[in-house]
């Protein structure tokens, strides 16, 4: 198996799958190369992420990253959630294979997008973020 047990656990029993009907922040991102898509739904109350759900079309690593990322931001403040990096997601999963690091980037980006969607809805100014190259570590082949 190329994946850690943690990854397999989050992949086979993903947490927070689904949609939030009355979400007040939604972010969808796609990886243009592999074609995978991730969608995050946030329910923010009093600047706290009260609920979060995801839908992902993608590989095992993408699904596990969605599951872990949603777990990591649930109950956190919006500022804390904003700070979540793909590296932190990968670490919490006990690591991802180098070719699969970019899948965790999807999670980071989807959360950023969802938070800004929430901020937009609230009339707040959008936060800046650098688009990470989701393909930094793409090739195992040399």
């Amino acid at each position: 198996m190329i994946y850690s047990e943690k990854v397999m656990d989050h992949f086979t029993n993903p947490r927070n799958v689904g949609e939030i009907q009355d979400a007040n922040g939604v972010g969808e991102v796609g990886n243009p190369k592999c074609g995978d898509i991730m969608k995050i739904y946030l329910k923010v109350e009093d600047n706290i992420i009260k609920d979060v759900k995801f839908k992902t079309f993608g590989c095992g690593s993408a699904i596990a990253s969605s599951s872990m990322a949603t777990e990591l931001i649930k109950g956190k403040t919006v500022e804390e959630a904003w700070e979540l990096t793909n590296k932190a997601v990968a670490e919490a999963l006990d690591g991802l294979p180098p070719v699969k690091m970019h899948c965790s980037v999807l999670a980071e980006q989807a959360i950023h997008k969802a938070i800004n969607d929430y901020r937009k809805g609230e009339g707040l100014e959008l936060w800046d973020y650098e688009e990470k190259d989701a393909h930094e570590h793409e090739h195992g082949e040399e």
Binding site: T12, V17, M38, F57, C59, H135
Partner: protein
């Protein structure tokens, strides 16, 4: 692992080595190990063993034993055919014709040749994966020295009109190579009748060991070595012979051939049952042709809205070993070049599942797979943002 079942449905990736094959190999590791190039009597046995293997191969594909050359596998045979013909015949021309759905051993060898002065035409295929004979004829120029078209595709099982291709090439005096790695041991092949000049095979696709293959080279064909050196294989493929491997290949091809027709029929039935069952899942399509134009053990379908790797992982948890057209898992994110070539859009090509059957596959296995797959697909679709039922 949720239970202890293990159903191997990835025979096209590799097969186990049959116990009878292994048994015949064993003495050549520890006892009959003499270098066949040596003069002493210890090497008499190894020389004979290699001759026998060569005869067995020759018999199955209907060539002369002297036209059989052992290699280190299917990829080496493919690389040898392409580069060997190209370099040895560049005075005659620098044009090669192949297809868009070849194995990477062919495609990447072609790219290497393109970087080194050759021109390559990649023929398109129709939605079942077949080339058009007209396209082939039109692609031939007076610089064409080689046509390389695979016998049967490893992903979607399409069998090409080999004999027709062979006749055209022979008539135009162009060498014809076919990558028959997926066909040998499974389809009846007659290189004389089909006018094949070069043919690649790999033992581990027909219950022989890994790391050994064959390039058949018709007598009189001008070809450079890929591996230069000692005089082994009549000076054409250097390197101390992998005797045990060669013995294993010989035994395996003989066994496969003995049982070919019966097994072909048995597998075709299981295949069709599996295909029909899988097509019951909504938004599912079959990739590749049906009937005799398809490898008897090959099933390849696309489930819309979901992705290949995650299907494989969930199937693995249920004890089912399968593979996907998506090469995601092997380090590249691009969807299968074969599925794109038959016209699938990226996101559909992405949700492919290949199940390949072999000699231990039973009807119960097929039933079990048909029980598991729909629920796995359903589960992933429920997670998918593209799915909306």
């Amino acid at each position: 692992m949720e239970n202890n079942k293990r159903i191997y449905m990835d025979y096209a990736a590799t097969t186990y080595t049959k116990p009878e094959v292994l048994e015949e190999m064993i003495p050549y590791f520890t006892q009959e190990f003499g270098n066949p190039s040596s003069i002493y009597s210890l090497s008499r046995g190894t020389k004979k063993a290699i001759d026998l293997a060569r005869e067995r191969v020759a018999k199955v594909i209907n060539c002369e034993p002297a036209e059989v050359f052992f290699t280190g596998g299917g990829s080496e045979a493919d690389n040898w055919a392409l580069k060997g013909i190209a370099f040895a015949n560049k005075h005659r021309g620098n044009h090669i014709i192949t297809t868009k759905i070849e194995h990477h051993a062919i495609l990447h060898a072609c790219e290497f040749l393109e970087r080194n002065g050759f021109e390559v035409t990649y023929l398109p295929v129709d939605e079942e994966g077949k080339i058009s004979i007209e396209d082939l004829k039109n692609a031939i120029t007076d610089k064409t020295i080689l046509v390389s078209i695979m016998y049967a595709n490893n992903e979607i099982g399409t069998i090409q009109p080999i004999k027709e291709i062979g006749e055209i090439c022979r008539e135009k005096r162009i060498f014809f190579h076919t990558d028959a790695v997926q066909a040998v041991g499974h389809e009846k092949i007659d290189v004389k009748d089909m006018k094949i000049d070069l043919l690649s095979m790999a033992a581990h696709k027909f219950y022989g060991p890994k790391g050994v293959g064959v390039l058949y080279i018709r007598k009189g064909i001008r070809i450079d070595n890929l591996v230069h050196g000692g005089g082994q294989e009549r000076g054409r493929r250097a390197g101390t012979e992998n005797i045990a491997g060669i013995v294993g290949l010989g035994k395996a091809i003989e066994l496969a051939n003995e049982n070919l027709e019966k097994e072909h029929e048995r597998l075709s039935k299981l295949r069709d049952k599996l295909i029909n069952g899988l097509l019951q899942v909504p938004y599912t399509r079959l990739n590749g042709p049906t009937g005799k134009d398809r490898l008897a053990g090959n099933v390849n379908v696309c489930f819309r809205f979901i992705e290949g790797e995650s299907i494989l992982l969930l199937l693995d948890a249920k004890g089912i070993c399968a593979s996907s057209g998506s090469a995601c898992t092997s380090g590249s994110l691009n969807p299968s070049h074969v599925l794109l070539a038959i016209g699938l859009p990226h996101e559909i090509a992405h949700g492919s599942l290949r199940l390949t059957l072999g000699d231990r596959t039973t009807e119960e296995d097929v039933d079990y797979v048909l029980e598991v797959v729909p629920s796995v697909v359903q589960r992933l679709r429920e997670m998918s943002p593209l799915w909306d039922d």
